[in-house]
Assembly symmetry: C2
Homo-oligomer: 411 residues x 2
DNA sequence: CCGTTTTGTTCATGGGGGTCACAAAGCGAG
DNA sequence: CTCGCTTTGTGACCCCCATGAACAAAACGG
């Protein structure tokens, strides 16, 4: 007799880890899923089937590209082309970006860039969310959540932006609350998550970029002014007990350096940011292009084949040396196995990788013993992808549970 | 028919977490075990029964001391009086300590203190382990493992002491390997674990002392010379990717300070250690008592009702201010919710708690927003207890598995 | 002495993953 | 081309462990 019970659907516990493996590109087939998850082939097959019925992945009985030459070729697990997406918003000093991001950190759709941020966070976020809702309508994709990246320290768990000064937003703005309200009003009934932009870029680099596979990943990056840091431990963002960790800007890198608004002098913040390079090179910030772009161009010109004059080369070397001191200080405290640099710091690394790496090794206590690799970031819109990661996280933790709760949007 | 199968013994999965709750004193009865573990009463009962048959805990149908006034009184879960122990060894500049430590961080037996450390680590550790084996023989207790605390950075996972300079051991000594060999030769067939003494003290403070319940715990302590740090995240020691994290001694706390052997100047290491206080107070290190004890006594005399002269008070204040700068720098990077201080730093805190706390708040970026509590350590032999924690960890992770593998010692 | 409340225990039930055997799909040797 | 060899995918059955419900136990209060 055919019992009318619901199908067994085994492998519910391993569902989250399995999706995470596919998400980070570490599980192209059921076979590697088996070994990575440490379960049997039967369970891995059931897990893959469940993810398929959830509409998250598709299975290709693939035509070619055999990796292992022997044995039965495995089926390829692919992220579903028409699967759900996360709504990602990044606010920066020059405007905001809005995109839909699917599993695997793939940017599925982007709204036209906006070049101005309204000084009232409620208005600015309403604009951004409206653009996102429009994208959802156009694509008809289901939305699993929304993430927001802000150039400010953001408290945990309340989601308050303490210093969004470059946006001219009031300090202490409750951005998570505002973001969630905007989502509600725009008819996108999903949870909103917020985070610091450098933190989120670090998360994205760890899952889909230059930080892939690192156990203890340290990211350091400049925006237009100032320096930010982030730490990813065991695949999770470490934000400290209140979300305020990795404020690395006020490490002392030059005891005789210029005064900083924090009261000390020679801070990383004022000694290695774009303005510092322009000043050291004797340049005025030009009207065309952002401060960050100008500084990066300058640093690149000081690199091999860049053809910069001696003043610029000297200024770049000087900044590299100070950055090395700062990174060495962080290495002493955090002992990461990889450092990913972004913004101007990435350009400094690319201008003279040897000098920076040697400087860090020289100034850190165990520079010779504990080897740390220092690499440039690889993602163009890391903060945006990272914001989406926040929204995807509940799905990665419990796929069926998170997807049950959400309602589709579109049309 | 009576099936001759082994007894069911349910609740194997929750066994580790349950033991950890008892171990850290957070599960006095089966009832709280139920709520803390998030399982049913049936499972909690089975778990308690299993721990009992393993000889780790005992159940007291207790006579008095009813906490909740209503309902059936619960049975008290107690750590077994004759249960297994861990062999703990702490090496410090003035000698070594050896003890047997039971669950809950209880020191069960101590060997007479030894006042000298042989310059060959193999000889020194053989002496210590011999004393430990003697203790095991005397008490007849079963041994689950052995832990060693060393005043040096220790690499993970190989267990190499990079700078045991105060012991006059050669840098790069493979202490874990030596320790394990000594254990074998002494007839104590257990695994040996090693760690930095401050790290282990932090672990002990988190589980049994002033750090109990903290999410992100930072410990900073002085030995006789220099400063050490440690971080406990979510109950686990964070030692970085190679075990070399939290080398906090070379944070700059006074840009105009005295030169440090690291090449910089004004490092926490040389500005806030016992020698720094003695120098600032114009005292010579006396022959009687250790440097640490003299400095602590001096700091205490500068506290309320201590009756120190103005020179000593000024020196103490100055050290407190520099320590505050260093702690603030760490707060900016790590954002802990609690800081436990040990050694001279503990004495400095107790001499003037208000000044230190205000200094940290003033110099940290979010001192006002992200509140961090700063407290003195409470354990007398934190490193020793922490070393035992290392040895206990496998048992906490998988009680039946770890206990099956071990063989009893004694007699 | 009897309800109420909380705790501990027994027993049947069921979900979820493991084990095992078998089928499928290429590769290479003969 | 056919026959093994190797690896991958799948279905049937089993075992472990936690749940849920009912019952028993041990106080307290009227």
């Amino acid at each position: 007799m055919t019992t009318s019970r619901t199908k067994p659907e085994r492998g519910r516990n391993a569902l989250g880890p399995a999706l995470e493996l596919v998400h980070t590109g570490r599980a192209p087939t059921r076979a590697v899923l088996t070994t990575e998850l440490g379960v049997t082939r039967a369970t891995a097959g059931a897990v893959a089937g469940e993810l398929q019925t959830l509409g998250l992945i598709t299975v290709d009985v693939r035509p070619g590209a055999a990796a292992g030459s022997q044995g039965r070729p495995s089926h390829r697990l692919t992220i579903a082309d028409d699967g759900p997406v996360a709504l990602a918003v990044q606010i920066h000093a020059d405007g905001f970006r809005v995109a839909l991001v699917g599993l695997g950190g793939r940017i599925v759709a982007t709204a036209p860039a906006c070049g101005e941020v309204h000084p009232d966070p409620a208005v600015a976020l309403a604009e951004a969310v409206a653009a996102g809702a429009e994208l959802l309508r156009e694509t008809g994709r289901r939305c699993v959540g929304a993430g927001l990246a802000v150039p400010s320290a953001v408290t945990e768990p309340d989601g308050i932006a303490l210093n969004p000064l470059h946006l001219r937003w009031p300090p202490g703005s409750p951005v998570r609350e505002i973001f969630t309200r905007c989502l509600d009003e725009a008819g996108v009934p999903v949870t909103g998550f917020c985070g610091n932009d450098v933190n989120l870029a670090a998360l994205a680099e760890h899952r889909h970029g230059a930080g892939h596979g690192a156990r203890d990943l340290l990211c350091v990056a400049t925006g237009h002014r100032g320096v930010g840091g982030a730490l990813v431990l065991d695949g999770r963002l470490h934000t400290g007990s209140a979300g305020l960790a990795l404020e690395v800007g006020h490490l002392t890198v030059d005891p005789a350096g210029r005064p900083c608004h924090c009261g000390s002098r020679g801070c990383l913040d004022v000694e290695t940011d774009p303005m510092a390079l322009l000043e050291a090179a004797g340049r005025e910030p030009g009207p065309d292009g952002s401060l960050l772009d100008q500084a990066c161009a300058l640093a690149r010109s000081a690199g091999p084949g860049g053809g910069a004059d001696e003043t610029v080369r000297g200024a770049t070397r000087s900044l590299i040396d100070r950055l090395a001191r700062g990174l060495a200080g962080l290495v002493n405290i955090l002992n990461p196995d990889r450092i990913v640099l972004g913004g101007l710091h990435r350009a400094l690394l690319e201008a003279d990788p040897g000098r920076l790496r040697a400087g860090v090794a020289d100034h850190s206590l165990w520079g010779r013993s504990g080897s740390v690799s220092i690499v440039p970031g690889t993602l163009d819109h890391g903060s945006l992808v990272g914001a989406a990661e926040l929204a995807w996280q509940p799905v990665l933790d419990d796929p069926p549970g998170a997807l049950r709760a959400r309602t589709p949007v579109g049309t």
